[in-house]
């Protein structure tokens, strides 16, 4: 075995990724070649050092409990009943018949839409408590005027509490180099962010990010994009209501 080959295999050797015969060849070379053995020893020493438990952060008991708690909570309320499925089927039929140009992207193909990425980032930041609401209000008549003066357009603010998507407020966010309105709705414990801005072009928001659903459409000169970790069907219900 040449040194070039040996040096190419020394890390897989260290990481236990070689088969038995390759292992034996590399070991044989290392026992004969001092310069390769030096490389190997440095790598192994580094690996040994890194294996110390002191470098590994461990989840706290409270995090563990929080996660279990939230998963149980999501489980208890998160499953649609048979009735919901029927309603859903009806909704989807309606969607087809009206011929909406709604783009649904469930899981990451290529996250090629920077706007989509920004929207999801904004959504995630709002979830971890950075900046969910500038105006917490369940009253659409408070939220709509609040945007006046903050934006050069006026978003259509409506509440769907009766249909299970209560409005909880709004904020101004910044997407694709411009200020946009974010209307915030709840569905059980899930948050739906609906971003609204004047159409820059005919194109709707492309792309997707694993774990989130994005539904975007264009209506009356405005671009809309709803994002949530809700299941697709319920997010579609929401979009149906809004449109």
């Amino acid at each position: 075995m040449t040194c070039t080959t040996a040096l190419g295999l020394v890390e897989p050797y260290l990481d236990g990724e070689l088969d038995a015969s390759q292992n034996a060849e590399v070991a044989g070379h290392l026992s004969e070649c001092e310069s390769c053995a030096t490389v190997w020893q440095r790598l192994r020493a580094l690996s040994d050092d890194l294996h110390t438990p002191a470098l590994r952060y461990e989840a706290s008991e409270s995090l563990r409990n929080r996660v279990l708690e939230s998963v149980r909570h999501a489980d208890g309320t998160g499953r649609p009943s048979r009735m919901n499925w029927l309603a859903l089927a009806a909704t989807m039929l309606l969607a087809v018949s009206v011929g909406w140009n709604v783009m649904f992207l469930e899981r990451s193909r290529n996250a090629d839409g920077e706007v989509a990425q920004e929207i999801v980032s904004s959504h995630v930041r709002s979830l971890i408590g950075e900046h969910l609401l500038d105006i917490p209000s369940t009253d659409q008549h408070n939220v709509k005027p609040w945007f006046n003066g903050k934006l050069d357009f006026s978003p259509d603010v409506r509440d769907f509490a009766a249909q299970g998507f209560p409005l909880i407020g709004g904020r101004v966010d910044y997407i694709d180099h411009r200020p946009v309105a974010a209307l915030v709705y709840k569905r059980r414990q899930h948050v739906v962010n609906l971003f609204v801005w004047p159409s820059a072009s005919a194109a709707s928001v492309p792309g997707s990010v694993t774990g989130f659903h994005l539904l975007s459409w264009n209506q009356d000169g405005m671009d809309y994009c709803a994002v949530s970790d809700l299941n697709e069907d319920e997010l579609r219900q929401f979009v149906n209501l809004y449109r």
């Binding site: 890194l50 470098l55 590994r56 996250a111």
Partner: protein
């Protein structure tokens, strides 16, 4: 009566929470790592139907990683060039606080060196050396080919060795 889906989730995914937290903590910072893990686990649960049942650790770490990079505002790809001021500022402070408790200065140096790696190298080093994941698992988690995992790991190690050399 427990839901079988949740039971399966608790058996296959929840046990990897240390790995999830470790990765999130190395990719972000102490202030947000717990929130991101919780968020990632909720997402994982909602998308549990897409889990093929093979490798819970690689699967949940992919969700954690995605959540972290989304939070960092960069999509699912690790940044190509390294030094992230935000991460370093946030971490520099409390790494010092934490390392004060650790008698061995070498560990502090190692921690600094790993933290100073570009995220794309840091994540593979953490997965390989701290989590003892195989190349295949790391490739699955990061969504890049095994060859890329190997070259990132190799470059990460070279940088770590140089960094440790510089601290001697």
């Amino acid at each position: 009566m427990d839901n079988p889906k949740r039971e399966l989730f608790e058996q296959t995914i929840v046990p990897h929470m240390n790995a999830a937290y470790n990765l999130a903590r190395w990719l972000t910072n102490r202030d947000v790592a717990e929130d991101l893990v919780q968020e990632a686990y909720l997402r994982a649960f909602r998308f549990f139907d897409s889990f093929d049942g093979r490798d819970g650790k690689a699967w949940v770490l992919a969700v954690v990683r995605n959540t972290c990079f989304t939070w960092l505002g960069r999509g699912s790809r690790a940044p190509v060039v390294g030094f992230d001021e935000q991460i370093h500022r946030a971490d520099g402070e409390h790494v010092n606080a934490e390392t004060r408790l650790i008698a061995d200065a070498k560990i502090g140096a190692l921690r600094d060196c790993v933290q100073s790696l570009p995220a794309e190298y840091r994540e593979v080093v953490v997965m390989r050396e701290l989590e003892e994941m195989s190349y295949r698992q790391i490739a699955e988690t990061t969504g890049v080919p095994i060859g890329t995992v190997m070259s990132r790991l190799s470059r990460g190690r070279v940088r770590l060795l140089d960094c440790m050399e510089g601290k001697r």
